[in-house]
Structures are given as C-alpha cells and as structure tokens.
C-alpha cells in the first residue's frame, strides 16, 4: 500500500491504477431507462481521458475552475477527474440552489467552465451569465429540452468527448503526460461550505488531504472493491466527495447513481449497498415511516413486531458488538431476525449494510439504538469540510450513542481553554479561497484547525460535542446555555421537526418549535381531526398540548444534568411556517441559521420574553420558483412547567 501511496498520489493516477489492476470490475452504475447500466474502471478511464482532452481542446487549463451543478450523475463525477487530469479545479455546487446563489459561487470561484446536468441548471446559468463575465463555456449532460438553444458557448457532453478523441489522435501522449505531471500537493477540489454564518467560503483541498484521509478511513473500516455505495447526497457536500468519490477510488468499489431523486428509496432497495451514509434526518424519517406503517398493520403483525423489537432492544446491540449473550436470548434473536429484523432491513434496503455512518447533527439515542439493535452496524462520526470529513469515528465495539468516538487515523485533537475542539492531521484544508483573513482565523500556523464546536472527552477518551462554541452562551444569572443541546433533546420527539432555542443574555430559556407535518398529520388523520395547512395544524390546541408535554419532559431531563439544569424552557410557541432554506432560515444542509432567524422573528422573541399570551406576525415566504408571498398569523405563546434544580431526581422517583 505504501508504494501505491507514493506513486498514486492524485486521483487521475489512482484511476489509471484501478483501470489496470481491476480493469473489468464495475466502477460506476446508473439506472437509465429502468435498467442498471455499468461502466468498468477501464471504461471510465478511457471516457475520462477523452473528456479531459475535450475540455483542454475547449480551452480549460491548469488552475482554471470548472463548476459542476446537478444531481449525482456519472458524467458529473467524471467531470471531477477529467478536470483534475489537466490540473483544473472542480467546484461542485448544490443543485437546488437558486440562480443567485449559484452566481455567487461561480463568481467567487472565477469559474471559466460549468458542467450542468440538464436544462433546469443550464437555464439558471444562462440567466446569470451576464453577471459572470469569466464564464466562457457551459457543458451539459442531458440534452432534453435544449435542442433549440443555439448559444455558441453551450456544449453537449458527447460533442466534448468527440473533440477529445480527435485531440488525442493528434496528441497521443497528452493524457499520460498530464497525469504524470501532477503531484499530491496540487489542488484537488474546492468545496463551498453551506454558510451557517454569512456568505459561503470556498474550502481548498489538495489531492493529499482528500486522498490520504479517504484511504485511512477505508483501511480502518476494511472497505474493499466488493463494497457497494449509492450516491444520493449532494455532490457539493464534502461527505459525498469522500464516500462516493475519494473512497471509491482508494478502495476500488463501485458507486451507483439513482434513476432520479424521487426513486432513491427504491433504488436503494434494488441495489442493497454495503456501505451507507445518511444524515440523522433520513434515519429518523425511515423510522417514522416504519412506525406509521406498523400502526396500519394487522393485530398479529403488530404484536409480533413489538415483541421482537422489545427483545432486540434488550440484546441486539450486545450481539452486534460481540458481547456475551445467553443462548436462549440468541435463539430468540435468531427467530426475530427471521421473522421481523430481516424482512424489515430488506424493506429498508439495508440488509447488506456492513458499515453505516451518520453525522452532521446529533442522532436521537433511541433512533440510533433502534438501527443497531436490528443488526445494522451504524456508527457516528464527527467531521467537517475543513478536515475532508474524518475527525473522529466511533470505534467498533465501543459505541456510545452520545459521543462521536475517538480520533480518526493520524488525526490529533486538543481542546482550547474555552472548550473548543481543535484538530490537526493529513486532511487539513489548504486555505479558504481568496479569503486569507478567514483562513488565518480558522487555521493556526502549525496546522491546527479550530472547529468552532464546543466539546469534551469522556472517561474513555471519546469526544462529546455539545454545541457550536460561539452559540454556547449564558443566561443573565450566569447559567451555561447550550442551545443545540436543548434543541436536540426536543427534536428527538418524533412530533417535533425543528427547534430554535433562545436564552443568551436573557433571564430564561425560550423556544420556537416546528412540528413534524408527517407525524402530527398522521396523528390528526387517525383521530379524525381536519386541517388544511401546516399553519392550521400547528395552531390546534390538541397539538399544543402534545408539544407542551414534550417540552416539560425535556425540562425534567435537563434538570437531572448539573451543567444544563438551569436552562430549562419556560415559554415556547409553535411557528406558523416550516423553517425553510428557500427563505434563508436553514442552510442547504438543513442547519438552523440562528442569527438570521433571531432578526427575522424579533417580534416573536420579544413576545416570548414578555407576559403576552399571543403575538401577531407577518412573514414573507419564497416559493421554489422564486415568487414571493405573504403569510400572516396570530401565534399562541405557552408557559411550560419547569423542575426546580436539584428536584429532578425526586420528580423522577415520583413518576
């Protein structure tokens, strides 16, 4: 392996290597016209070579940027490598961004080329082209709807390949020379962070940082060329770049692209991946769907399900981690596997999963244990764009739901005086593009990166993250206030989708809550309660009662933990609309943009910190097509019971 590391220090070199040693093994699949089409490593190498030559012939040079906009498609992944062959830098962007967001990224990155998936993305680019003087060429993959577009800067993918083949017949040595001329210290990719605060920043990574990190983790987890991955998360997100690109090249496994974004669940089921990544949200949604469907199942099935799930809860995790479990329990678990766990995993498309990761947000302990108890080796990791993902990974056999594990191979971690997590290792990013101030703020001269997260190590040396360091504040009486910690506790209730907690420099803690439309809607349907919209459902007194019970339960949990007992939720309200990325309230990766929300809804916050029972609000909403509308509502504000500090244990006993 070590010689391979030295010789194959860039992704194009690695592709060439794979095309030699595992030429006939599948490298990529895509479901097209109802059938899975596959490309072997040798075919991918040939196609990428033509593509790279075509890009060069069209004028793309070393150091130029090429933006990539679209869903997960093989040709978009090949754009990454083809650009890297000639030393150009790929810049994947989020496919669901509106035109202005794309314009910002392309303008900042000075993109000269752009590869768009289809007409929808091409339209966005053409719409913004006047503001992007540097953008010279737009390529597209799917020509549907583009027949009447006759702009000279538009190029069909096939035409580029054709140009590349011509170029290669005239310059047969070109590709080899390009590939050999690059080294691991060259820039590999630029990934724009989703921008929880302010404008997105372009994180620049070298081949070394992405490749070594991807390879380290693949070796740690024993990934090999027989593994299967479904690429369905945004290409602009660092995780997808590592799981569906970097590790595929490093370990030689095949990556499959779904037919469309609507068919992901079905494609997952058909494919049966062995290595699977999903943010906690997806695991939550899957579990909610399962539970809702179980409610509709027959009595016998329901009893069987609950009987065996209770058993799995008791011994499933121990069996997965290889701890000793009694023979009778093992037999019963085996029977459960046959009758319940096996069919359930199959229905979810997870029966072959050897390794599952989740990250990005905290996952509810019950959800996490649910998947582990039915035999899915789900693990949490902690990572960031600046680290090329891996900072910590939960170790096999030592998994605790509330920690993110131990440092990944070659990564070192230390904590600052303020409790902020710092790391260093092979995956540390090179810089923020054209932003030396931010680079200097985040990365020290000796290569330590400040994550901005507050955390601490537990007794076993596993890292526990509590919140963003800058979000951790204090109530007026000096009590520690970690909003995310409180929010996550509430979000673990299936009825609650999103929470924003307030309390820094205030007298007490208060919260905005979004209910989960699917879960609460289903409850309403089963109980014959009519509602016409999210707004109406969220204003029903019965719904308020349920959420109030959840808030009070959370307060009870908080009261038992010394560090956060003081920050129980005194008042809350249910928002009249879902927080939405289109309205700028969430990032594209669905993280809450706290400051923006605080400004936008300042009227509501003031009401939370008064003794008002109601508050009127008018909000502007943006629809997916960019049109705007107004939404007005009169929101009820409720008081929640809190538990006196120190009385928590007593209250628990009393129940």
């Amino acid at each position: 392996m070590s010689t391979q590391t030295e010789t194959n220090d860039t992704f194009p070199k690695l592709l060439r290597y794979n095309a030699r040693v595992r030429a006939e093994r599948p490298a990529m699949r895509e479901k097209d016209l109802g059938i899975w089409q596959s490309w072997s490593w040798a075919e991918v190498y040939e196609e990428v070579s033509d593509y790279a030559a075509g890009l060069y012939a069209l004028g793309l040079r070393a150091g130029d940027k090429i933006a990539i906009i679209g869903d997960n498609r093989p040709r978009l992944y090949w754009t990454l490598t083809a650009a890297q062959v000639i030393g150009a830098v790929p810049v994947p962007t989020y496919a669901d961004s509106v035109a202005e967001e794309i314009q910002f990224v392309l303008d900042h990155a000075e993109a000269k080329f752009a590869m768009a998936e289809d007409q929808e993305q091409v339209d966005k680019l053409i719409d913004q082209k006047d503001h992007l003087p540097g953008l010279e060429v737009i390529l597209f993959d799917d020509s549907r709807g583009l027949r009447d577009y006759n702009q000279s800067f538009l190029w069909n993918y096939e035409a580029v390949l054709e140009k590349g083949r011509e170029f290669r017949t005239q310059n047969p040595e070109f590709i080899e020379r390009c590939i050999d001329g690059r080294t691991g210290s060259d820039v590999c990719i630029m990934l724009y962070t989703s921008g929880t605060t302010g404008q997105p920043k372009g994180v620049v990574h070298t081949h070394d940082s992405v490749l070594i990190t991807a390879r380290n983790a693949a070796e740690l987890e024993g990934l090999n060329e027989r593994d299967e991955v479904l690429a369905y998360l945004p290409m602009a997100w660092v995780g997808d770049n590592i799981f569906s690109f970097g590790q595929s090249y490093a370990a030689g496994f095949c990556v499959s692209c779904p037919e469309s974004s609507d068919t992901v669940l079905n494609d997952l089921w058909e494919l049966g991946p062995t290595y699977y990544f999903a943010p906690p949200r997806i695991f939550e949604n899957l579990l909610t769907t399962v539970m809702i469907r179980m409610e509709d199942a027959g009595k016998l099935k329901q009893r069987m399900f609950h009987y065996f799930m209770d058993h799995a809860k008791k011994v499933g995790v121990d069996i997965l981690d290889g701890r000793s479990v009694g023979l009778m329990d093992r037999i019963k678990y085996g029977l459960g596997e046959l009758l319940v766990y096996g069919p359930l995993k199959n229905a979810l498309g997870l029966s072959r999963v050897r390794l599952g990761y989740t990250a990005g947000e905290a996952i509810g302990p019950e959800i996490f244990e649910f998947y582990r108890s039915i035999g899915i080796n789900l693990k949490q990791l902690y990572g960031s764009t600046e680290a090329a993902v891996f900072i910590t990974i939960q170790p096999n056999g030592g998994i605790k739901p509330d920690t993110v594990g131990v440092p990944a191979p070659d990564v070192e971690i230390k904590l600052s005086d303020r409790g902020e997590v710092l790391f260093t290792g092979p995956g540390v990013f090179k810089e923020y593009y054209k932003n030396p101030e931010s680079t200097a703020d985040t990365k020290t001269d000796d290569n330590w990166v400040m994550t901005g997260d507050a955390g601490f190590f537990d007794d076993e040396g596993q890292l526990k993250i509590i919140d963003r360091a800058k979000d951790v504040g204090q109530l007026n009486d000096g009590t520690l206030f970690a909003p995310k910690y409180i929010e996550n506790k509430l979000k673990f209730f299936p009825n609650i989708k999103e929470v924003v907690a307030f309390g820094h420099e205030r007298d007490y803690c208060a919260a905005f809550i979004n209910i989960d439309l699917e879960a609460v809607g289903n409850w309403a349907e089963r109980n014959g309660i009519a509602y016409a919209s999210y707004q109406e459902l969220a204003s029903l007194p019965q719904v308020y009662e349920q959420i109030q019970a959840h808030v009070e339960e959370t307060n009870r949990q908080l009261s038992t933990e010394e560090r956060v007992a003081g920050s129980q939720i005194k008042r809350f309200l249910l928002l009249h609309k879902m927080l939405d990325a289109d309205d700028g309230e969430l990032t594209r990766t669905s993280k809450v943009r706290r400051r923006y929300i605080a400004e936008k809804y300042d009227v509501l916050i003031e009401a939370l910190y008064s003794d008002k029972k109601n508050c009127r609000i008018e909000t502007e909403v943006t629809y997916e097509d960019g049109r705007k509308g107004k939404l007005a509502a009169d929101l009820e504000i409720r008081d929640a019971k809190t538990v006196a500090i120190g009385a928590g244990a007593a209250a628990q006993a009393a129940e």
């Binding site: 097209d32 109802g34 549907r144 027949r147 469309s260 068919t263």
Partner: protein, 267 residues
C-alpha cells in the same frame, strides 16, 4: 431519444392531416353539432374551446369514430374515412379522456404497455409462456415504454398501482399510454381539468415537448383560457353546437362573438 425526434427544425407545421366537413350530429331531436367544418394541420397544436355543453367532447368523439354523425365527412390523411374507434387507433389516432380511463389495479408500467398492444403480433399462447417472438416483442416494446417513462419523468411510480396515484399523475400516465401508441394525431380531452397551477404548468410543458420532439399533431379540448392561448397554434370556438370562430389565439380572443359567448350577453 434522438431517433424518435422528428426533424421539425424548419416548418414545424405541414399540410392538412385531418379535416371535418359539414358535420352534423343529432341525438334524437337534440342537435349536438351543427354543420361544423375545420381542419387540423400536421404538427400543429389545435384547440377546441367553448362553454359547457358547446359540443367539444362530442366533436372529439366524432373524430375518433365513437359517435357517427348524421351528416358530413371526415378526411384523414387525404382519404374519406368512415371512422370507428378501432380504425382510429390503427390509423394513428390516440386519445385521453376527460374522466381518467386507466386500469386502476394495474401498475403504471402495465397501463402504458397496453398502449403497445396494437404493435404486438405474437399469438396468445406464445405471449402466455413468454417465448420466441413474444419475448422479443415484449423487450422491444418495453424499451420504447421506458423512453416514454423517462420523457414524462414518472420513473418513481413505474411499479405503483395507478389507483393509488394522485389525480395529476394519473393524467400523466394516461398521456403516457396514448403516447405509447406512437400516434400521428393525439386527442386530449381536458388534460388539465382539476389540476392545480403547478400541475397545469407541468402538463403544458409536456404537451409542448410531445409536439416538438415526437412531432405529434395535437388536438386539445381545454377550459383554462390562459393555457389554450399559450399552447395553441390555432383555436376553433364552439357554442351550442355551432362554430363561432376559427383562427389564431389572438384573432379568436378579440372576436366579439367569442367574448359574448364567454362573458354572456343580454339576448
């Protein structure tokens, strides 16, 4: 898909494909259509509009031979024809219905496959055991159906029973089934009835795409005036079974008789 796309770069609209001449249709004493004449040219989108009960659906039913007019003739591709539904289907006229007429218990895929029935020549027995010619035909036809599924973006409901789909999607499946016949003339009976704005926009897009890429001639009945005026090349207006106007969307919408019929006028 490229081989299926008709070359319509220049001169999308060709010569006459179908003409109805002096059609009169009576149900007992009730005159549903009185002396109607108009034609449909190759490659155009032709709309038939009118208030409720104007005779629009009757007109469509006459064209595909479901109703037999007492007077008048229909010429299709230059020949006088005595139109019947099965003959219409064989000669390249496909249609969708105002009230969806799909097989509710069958999957989307199977429903669309029924649109290919006329293209399959294998005997019942070899089809039943999926052997020889039947297998080859099935594969060819399935490949074509997959092109349509891709075209109308209904991959995610390929295996879903149609009865479980929302209304807007059922309409799309019905269009898919009609397209599976590779029709020369496609009759759409209120393709957008009961849809919300977004579904209407999607459907309009598909109708234009079908017309552009497959070169299919489309005759369309629709209530939504905005949609009709945007999509159509020519519009014919009916009222109480008589032809009020015929011409481009602009001409028709400025015609005083049409305005009166739609807005009502003191008699």
């Amino acid at each position: 898909m490229s081989e299926m796309m008709a070359d319509n770069e220049n001169g999308r609209i060709g010569g006459e494909l179908l003409s109805v001449d002096n059609i009169t249709l009576r149900f007992g004493g009730v005159k549903a259509l009185t002396d109607i004449s108009f034609n449909i040219n190759k490659g155009e989108i032709r709309s038939i509009i009118g208030p409720n009960g104007a005779g629009k659906s009757s007109m469509l039913n006459v064209i595909n031979g479901f109703y037999k007019p007492q007077e008048g003739t229909i010429r299709f591709k230059g020949k006088n024809v005595n139109m019947k539904p099965d003959l219409a289907a064989k000669s390249g006229i496909a249609r969708t219905f105002q009230n969806i007429a799909l097989f509710k218990g069958m999957s989307t895929l199977d429903n669309i496959m029924t649109g290919r029935m006329l293209k399959m020549k294998a005997g019942f027995l070899s089809q039943a055991i999926y052997w020889g010619r039947a297998q080859k035909e099935e594969l060819e036809n399935r490949a074509f159906v997959e092109e349509i599924i891709d075209f109308l973006e209904i991959q995610s409901i390929r295996k879903t029973p149609v009865g479980r789909l929302p209304y807007g999607l059922q309409k799309r499946v019905e269009l898919a089934r009609a397209l599976a016949m590779e029709p020369e003339l496609l009759l759409l009976d209120e393709p957008m009835a009961g849809m919300n704005l977004e579904e209407k926009e999607d459907m309009s897009r598909y109708i234009i795409d079908v017309n552009e890429y497959f070169g299919t001639t489309i005759a369309l009945i629709e209530h939504d005036m905005g949609v009709v005026m945007d999509l159509s090349d020519r519009v014919v207006v009916l009222d109480y079974g008589c032809k009020l106007a015929d011409g481009s969307p602009d001409e028709v919408s400025s015609n005083q008789a049409v305005i009166d019929a739609y807005l009502g006028v003191a008699h």
